[in-house]
């Protein structure tokens, strides 16, 4: 039953894509008719005019239908995932595709179900948000391409979640990667978008090769492509470690772990807003799913040093991601870097759980795993919310540079309110959901000291906790900067001053739904953690019993005495204190707030130019941690010709580059180019030489075969 729902979801996604393509051609046909009507200056027959009118209305209806199907796909995925998670069992099936000796195996278990819930929520938001947002592309870009590749993208991700053999998994994985390449390159007239898309595709394929090699290890051991055979196969620790490291490289690249993250801050901002939301909110999580499936389920026998590696990578990604985010002045780029930070936090939780499980403390490992999974869900909600709200901002102000924004809280009140909630959630502040998962990660890290016997590892876990604390604090600074510069103060440019709230209600409902979920998951974390129990039961055979032992009010991982947090009571106490304060105030006409101009030190003429800019806000951080970035900062004064000491203007330039380019990517490209240049020597362009090559190769091959 649930499997059928999941199939229906895939079909709905694909049909939404096909429908978009059909609609486009239909519109094109109608356009031809219109043009014909325009060219042939004869009295137009009534029916043709009606057809032309009809076709002009048609794209809107089509577009709504396409996105309705996409939303339906999300709802079906959510329903399938929720039901399967509730049932806590696994369903298997086979599809009549694939290789002659290997049909596509499908398995739908609780782990897939959880990620299908994450996907469903993201797709619903994208489907509700899309109709209003994509109107701006009408007539300029192909709606058919957007719809088709969105459908393929969603179907590919669902395929990855359902796959139960290596062949189907890789096909779905590639469908996901390639279709999202086209989505990144959607606004292709910008050279930067084309470059970002190519980089994305290149790194995606390199990652895919690493994943295929990791699968190859297990396929060689078990002589089969089916995951079932892999589960029973016995892998030696050395080969297991090799396979794990390859998988970590492949999936880590897709998840945007430092130093394999270079594509992410380029590709995510280039895509349309709802696609950015899907990529950051869902696709990165699919990579986490892949690693979880591979390490915990297929390989089994988790080693503690794998966990140490994952923990190190996660910690590095978290701190570098947020340090890069805090200095960005581009709205969507900042959000993309913040995704790297959050994926780092997820991998920290994963690493901790692997360390514990490898050391044989399964209950503690469950805390880390619960933290990681909860952060997966949370991040998918608030990052999607922020990308959608940012899309609304870009849509209304036609710019994504923070330095040109300001004062939007008065011009786009609802979007600004939703963005504020998302910012509070992502900065990891109570009582919202981001705080809960970071709190759980801290709890897992703190429990390491008492059980892990290796001193170096204990020290490493403590340092990781220290770095996580630093990351959370910088994240708060980062989102104060983002929100303060973009939404508060006074508009720095005319286009921001004339911005209006979005007109299409879907563009408010989609982030609104996500904001509601953020609040709900922040206040009632025990419910969410209880719903996740079947996953750990299936993966590890145990469940985290203590977390909600005290009922829905109290979150107590590791028992009552160890740690407890009650988000509902916190919210209640805050509300009560608020109400009490309002009652205390003595109300009357003389107590009313008086409005007056802002204080200008008596000089007059406060202008929006005098506000703090995004670059200025981050300057102290930039100065303190200067070695982290590749910074080029120049300021050149221009002087008047008559008076060389009189400065008329000041040109200031600030470029902040990613260090990983200079240290990793550029050397690599140089090596590749070098090798390519050397291989050209054997290409003489003479046919007889090529024949000789073929001949020698044949001889060698014959020697090998016989």
């Amino acid at each position: 039953m649930t499997l059928l729902l999941a199939y229906a979801s895939v079909v709905a996604a694909l049909s939404s894509g096909l429908l978009a393509l059909l609609g486009e051609h239909r519109a094109a046909w109608a356009g031809t008719a219109r043009r014909a009507a325009g060219l042939v200056r004869t009295p137009i027959p009534a029916n043709l005019a009606q057809a032309a009118n009809h076709s002009r209305r048609l794209p809107h209806a089509w577009r709504r239908l396409v996105f309705a199907l996409l939303t339906a796909s999300g709802v079906l995925a959510l329903a399938a995932g929720g039901l399967q998670l509730h049932a806590g069992t696994a369903v298997s099936g086979q599809l009549p595709f694939g290789l002659p000796w290997l049909q596509w195996h499908v398995r739908f278990d609780t782990l897939s179900a959880f990620f299908l819930v994450v996907l469903g929520l993201g797709v619903i938001a994208a489907g509700v948000y899309g109709p209003g947002y994509t109107r701006q592309f009408a007539g300029q870009y192909s709606f058919g391409a957007l719809g088709l590749f969105t459908g393929l993208f969603v179907a590919g991700m669902e395929g990855v979640l359902l796959a139960d053999d290596a062949y189907f998994f890789v096909i779905a994985w590639e469908a996901m990667t390639v279709s999202s390449y086209f989505l990144v390159a959607y606004q292709h007239e910008h050279a930067s978008h084309r470059r970002a898309a190519f980089l994305y595709l290149l790194m995606g394929e390199v990652g895919a090769i690493a994943i295929i090699l990791a699968f190859g290890v297990l396929a060689a051991v078990s002589h089969s492509f089916a995951f079932d055979a892999w589960r029973d196969a016995h892998v030696t620790p050395v080969w297991g470690t090799a396979a794990f490291l390859l998988a970590l490289a492949g999936f880590g690249m897709k998840a945007g772990l430092v130093p394999l993250h270079a594509w992410l801050p380029e590709a995510h901002p280039a895509a349309p807003a709802h696609i950015s939301g899907l990529m950051s909110g869902v696709m990165l999580k699919i990579a986490v799913y892949g690693l979880l499936r591979f390490a915990f389920d297929l390989l089994g026998d988790v080693q503690w040093y794998w966990g140490a590696i994952v923990l190190g990578l996660g910690t590095g990604s978290a701190v570098l991601g947020i340090l890069y985010a805090v200095v960005q002045s581009d709205l969507k780029r900042l959000l993309a870097y913040s995704s790297i930070e959050n994926m780092g936090i997820v991998f920290m939780g994963l690493g901790l759980s692997m360390v514990f499980i490898g050391k044989g403390h399964v209950q503690l490992g469950l805390t880390g795993l619960a933290a990681a999974l909860y952060h997966v869900l949370n991040h998918s909600l608030f990052k999607n919310l922020l990308f959608l709200a940012a899309g609304s901002v870009v849509h209304q102000t036609h710019q994504h540079d923070l330095e040109r924004m300001g004062g939007l809280i008065k011009r786009m009140p609802v979007t600004a309110g939703l963005f504020l909630l998302g910012s509070v959630a992502i900065a990891g502040l109570p009582p919202l959901n981001g705080f809960v998962s970071e709190w759980l990660t801290f709890q897992a890290a703190l429990q390491a000291a008492s059980v892990v016997d290796n001193g170096i590892l204990r020290g490493m876990v403590s340092v990781a906790a220290a770095i996580l604390a630093f990351t959370a604090a910088v994240a708060a600074a980062c989102f104060v900067k983002l929100y303060g510069v973009a939404f508060l103060g006074q508009p720095r440019e005319r286009r921001s001053a004339h911005a209006r709230e979005v007109s299409h209600s879907g563009m408010l409902w989609a982030p609104g739904m996500l904001a509601g979920l953020c609040l709900l998951l922040g206040v009632l974390p025990t419910w969410a953690l209880d719903a996740m129990r079947p996953i750990t039961r299936q993966l590890l055979g145990e469940t985290l019993t203590s977390a909600s032992a005290q009922g829905w009010l109290w979150l107590t991982p590791g028992g009552v005495g160890t740690a407890s947090y009650s988000a509902p009571l916190v919210l209640l106490a805050m509300t009560l204190a608020w109400w009490f304060l309002r009652r205390l105030e003595h109300r009357g006409p003389e107590a009313a707030v008086r409005r007056a101009p802002a204080w200008d030190c008596g000089f007059g003429g406060l202008s929006p130019r005098m506000q703090y800019t995004a670059a200025a806000f981050a300057q102290p951080v930039r100065r303190i941690f200067a070695p982290v970035w590749d910074t080029v900062e120049t300021s050149a004064p221009e002087t008047a010709a008559a008076h060389p000491l009189q400065v008329t203007a000041l040109r200031y330039r600030l470029e902040i580059g990613d260090r990983s380019w200079r240290w990793l990517y550029l050397p690599l490209t140089r090596v590749v180019e070098d090798l390519a240049r050397r291989t050209t020597r054997i290409q003489t362009g003479q046919v007889r030489i090529y024949i000789a090559y073929s001949f020698v190769t044949l001889i060698v091959l014959l020697g090998v075969v016989s």
Binding site: G428, G455, G459, F470, A473, A477, R595, A596
Partner: protein, 312 residues
């Protein structure tokens, strides 16, 4: 009964916070050869501000008048979960040390946003500096509390202090490091010399004051009061974590009396130490703050590591 006592403790915490800062000011004045204001001067100031009509800039949004309430609520709630003169109160289970730091961060988040809300240069400058300092101080504070958490293997402050009371006096090197770290953080977080000067209104030296420059009337009163609560909270945390003796463990009148007397003595002495420190050092340049806080962070981390290496 327990809940009632917890509520009384929370309300007392709120009401006594101005007295603590009054006492601090009094000691400082005596040290600097000035005539001190009466001890209850902060109460008078608060009353005066509460009676005044708040002025809000025309450019401000709804966030500006809402922020003081958020800041005050988070501070009051923090006061409610920290053991003041008694441990084992039921409110302690609502939130642990990490949540406490989260409350601080939440209040600061909104205050920094309010600083940017009016759209003047001062506000943005204050917000930027405050968030920079916080991003260094907050982790140092978490690390210092983690040392306690690791020792008692719990993050619940009340349970951890109970554990310390049970084990009695033991010299732990990790605690010395953590105490140093927490003291430095407390100075930075409450905006005292040498990081920030609560009495200054010079443009280039303001940090906290720059953010709240536009506030007036009851809004300002709430923010000032929240600041006083935060100052006392750091004092109570330091006093009760590193010298927990005297805290009431059963709720009898004499035990509670001893607890109240103990915390009053500890805070009185702590205020004298703080006043001495403030009088004897000069304010730092802004970009030396990172060294100060980096040192605090290092001390806290050393505390954690020395616990892990020496004491497990």
């Amino acid at each position: 009964m327990d809940w009632l006592l917890a509520l009384i403790q929370a309300v007392l915490f709120m009401l006594l916070a101005p007295l603590f800062s009054g006492w601090l000011k009094w000691v400082k004045c005596l040290l600097q050869n000035r005539r001190p204001p009466p001890l209850w001067q902060p109460y008078r100031d608060l009353r005066k501000l509460f009676g005044k009509r708040p002025v809000v800039a025309e450019t401000a949004s709804w966030l500006f008048p809402v922020t003081p309430y958020v800041v005050f609520c988070t501070a009051a709630l923090s006061g409610a979960i920290v053991p003041f003169f008694a441990v084992d109160l039921p409110t302690a289970a609502i939130a642990d040390m990490i949540v406490l730091v989260g409350f601080f961060a939440l209040g600061r988040f909104f205050l920094a946003l309010a600083g940017m809300d009016v759209g003047t240069a001062f506000g943005g400058m204050g917000s930027s500096r405050e968030m920079t300092i916080a991003s260094l101080a907050e982790p140092a504070m978490l690390m210092a509390t983690f040392t306690l958490a690791l020792t008692a293997s719990t993050t619940n402050i009340s349970v951890a202090i109970d554990y310390l009371l049970d084990t009695g006096l033991a010299l732990r090197p990790s605690f010395l490091f953590a105490l140093g770290g927490l003291l430095l953080v407390a100075v930075a977080e409450t905006g005292r010399i040498p990081i920030d000067n609560p009495a200054t209104h010079l443009e280039l030296t303001m940090i906290h004051e720059a953010m709240i420059l536009e506030y007036s009337g009851r809004h300002l009163a709430l923010i000032e009061w929240a600041g006083q609560i935060r100052l006392m909270l750091y004092g109570v945390l330091i006093a009760n974590i590193f010298l927990p003796w005297g805290l009431a463990r059963e709720f009898t009148p004499e035990a509670l009396g001893i607890g109240a007397a103990a915390i009053a003595t500890k805070l009185g002495v702590l205020a004298i130490v703080l006043a001495l420190a403030e009088t004897s050092v000069a304010k730092m340049r802004l970009f030396r703050v990172q060294e100060f806080l980096g040192f605090a962070y290092l001390l806290s981390l050393l505390g954690m590591l020395s616990h892990i290496i020496l004491e497990v």
